[in-house]
């Protein structure tokens, strides 16, 4: 049962990381335009280099 002493913290940390990642996506407006995002992935504009702001 000693295995629990590290398995439980690991599962909690993994859940926490997932939650933080989700909070980040909400904060950065990534759910505002679901249709546009599904189309933009097919767009080859920024394939060679990222968009420069």
């Amino acid at each position: 049962m000693e295995v629990l002493s590290y398995l439980i913290p690991i599962s909690l940390v993994m859940g926490g990381v997932g939650l933080l990642a989700f909070i980040y996506t909400v904060r950065s407006d990534q759910y505002d335009d679901p249709e546009g995002n599904s189309q933009r992935i097919l767009n080859s504009d920024y394939d060679d280099h990222p968009k420069v702001d």
């Binding site: 439980i8 909690l12 859940g15 939650l19 335009d33 933009r40 767009n43």
Partner: protein, 728 residues
Amino acid sequence: MTALSRPNISACPACAAAPAAEAMAERAAQKDAQIALSVPGVHCGACISTVERALEAAQGVKSARVNLTLKRATVEAEPDVMPEALIAVLSRIGYESHELDAGTLSATQTDKAGRDLLMRLAVAGFASMNVMLLSVSVWSGAADATRDMFHWISAAITLPTIAFSGQPFFRNAWSALKHRRLNMDVPIVLAIVLALVTSLWETSLSGHHAYFDAALALTFFLLAGRYLDYRTRAIARSAAEELAALEVPRAFVLRDGEEVQLPVSELRIGDLVRVRPGGRMPVDGEITEGMSEIDRSLLTGETLPIQAMPGQGVSAGEVNLTGPLTICATAVGKDTSLHRMADLVAIAESGRSRYTSLADKAAQLYAPGVHILSALSFIGWYLYSWDVRISLNIAAAVLIITCPCALGLAVPAVTTAASGRLFKKGLLIKHPTALERLAQVETVVFDKTGTLTAGTPELVTLDGFGSRDLGIALALAQGSAHPLSVSLTSALKAQGIAPATLTDLTEVPGYGTEAQWQGRRVRLGRAAWVGAKPGAETAAWLGIEGDAPQSFTFTDRLRDGAEQAVAELQAAGKDVILMSGDTTRAVEALANRLGITQWLAEALPEDKAARITALQEAGQKVLMVGDGLNDTAALAGADVSISPASALDAARVASDIVLLGGDLAPIADALATGRSAIWRIRENFRIATVYNLIAVPLAMAGLATPLVAALAMSASSITVSLNALRLR
């Protein structure tokens, strides 16, 4: 156009990204302009890049982002960039666009309430996954110290999560209790709190059963229902806001002898406002200069334009047809007759406030029922065992297992599915209970002008005219932008008529066009001006000097799908009634054309509303479809109401559903979808009841373990959601 006169920083957009540092610093002091454009034509990935690239290449634009879901482009630009310049840029690459008024459009800021709910939903979801993991180990046999440790860890995750995620329920329940009422949230909060209290108590005594996972799953499912409900309404709201934001934001005003463009909200009484042909009056006022004709159909339902001359009064919302007019404003903004009428509607009792939604009815039965059941089980077990711990445990199990989740999801899951389907067909459901009310409709009342008809004239016939006369008429009609002339031109061109050669062609605003033909004066216009007696129909008269005047008669063109909608509604057994402010003759003609037997002509706004009240008193459920200001009272009074997107703002606000496309055919579909949605909602309630009938006796008998509670809750929520997806 200051944007065009500014010196160019750089020709290519890529270099524009790296201008001199001092220029950056200088401009940073000013606030960037944010311009929102509605671009209805974007529909694919290629459109996104074309539009964005074109906008970013425009002068002064810092960044442009297209939102495909909302069909909208948001542009960050220098303060002096005018939206007109960007609209011109888009029209050059073939995209129609309209400026959206940033003041009306609060949806450009990210929607706070939706994000807040989503965050609470996510936290509840992640926490319930972790707690479920621990609970499964307990259920599969963890014992003694291990079980206690798992319970304590679950408690440590659950308590803060509920404190954060459960807030919407706590707030609603508290406000209901403050007003001494019961709503769905009261039993929900009681279930969550009781589950937490008994679980903590059990854990501290190393008990076997803890309901932490149930409390979290309950919160998660209910938040999912709330979020679905919220999103459906948010989409409708942002589309409705966009329609409102498209309305006349600007007017041309004479200030110190110069014509300046001002937002309508800045107009003052006494301002001289210029209204161009085709423009809508932004204010109430008196004509000081100019001759024209005015289309009042949105206000009164009359199709025949009236003549306008200096000294005559005009009301906001009327459309100027032929010549430019200068108006001295006598009432602006909230004081215009347009707004006053709209305000009257807001005061009047509306059909929607009288309706109790299915969810509310269910809650009225459910909330007291659950409390009584759980209190009875507590008392019963206490009298039987004299043990508070067992009794409380069982009371909590009863509260949790009555699956308010299924009830919480039953309605939003169905309305989300139904609204999504109707939105694809071009119907925007603005009001949350509109679908339910739509399902009960027995009588459908249509307005004529602008609703069943498109508001554009259509020539009745060309028979009986000589080709010489038609050639002259075409040449005269081409000289004017009056709707009758435009319609006549296209009808004659379609017949392959060649225009006659005329000289001295002039348009006399308010009367018609005049020219010389082979030394004779020829005129096309109003009856009296041409020398004929005016008839009852909409007509343009052709007068050739020396010949008797001839008339081209017009009818109002039917809106697309009008015939189909009326036929389908009648086939579905609904009573269809036509009500209009137009003349008896015009209304009768249209009623015959569409096969409508009941009609009412020359109806004043009060007549329309009174007729609807009379129908309702006779026990009918009435759907009103209308677009004008004269319909707003009727729209608000009817049980449910629909208005086309082309309607006046006031009419759209008064109605529950907005028809986005020009086509009327989806109305019949909407009634069918409404009915099947209600069917599904009732079915969902029945499913939830069946679950309760099985699970509640188990819980009251003390046989429900946390595992049984978790299974019942998840199974009922999932069944209800899947059932909603079956909606056709």
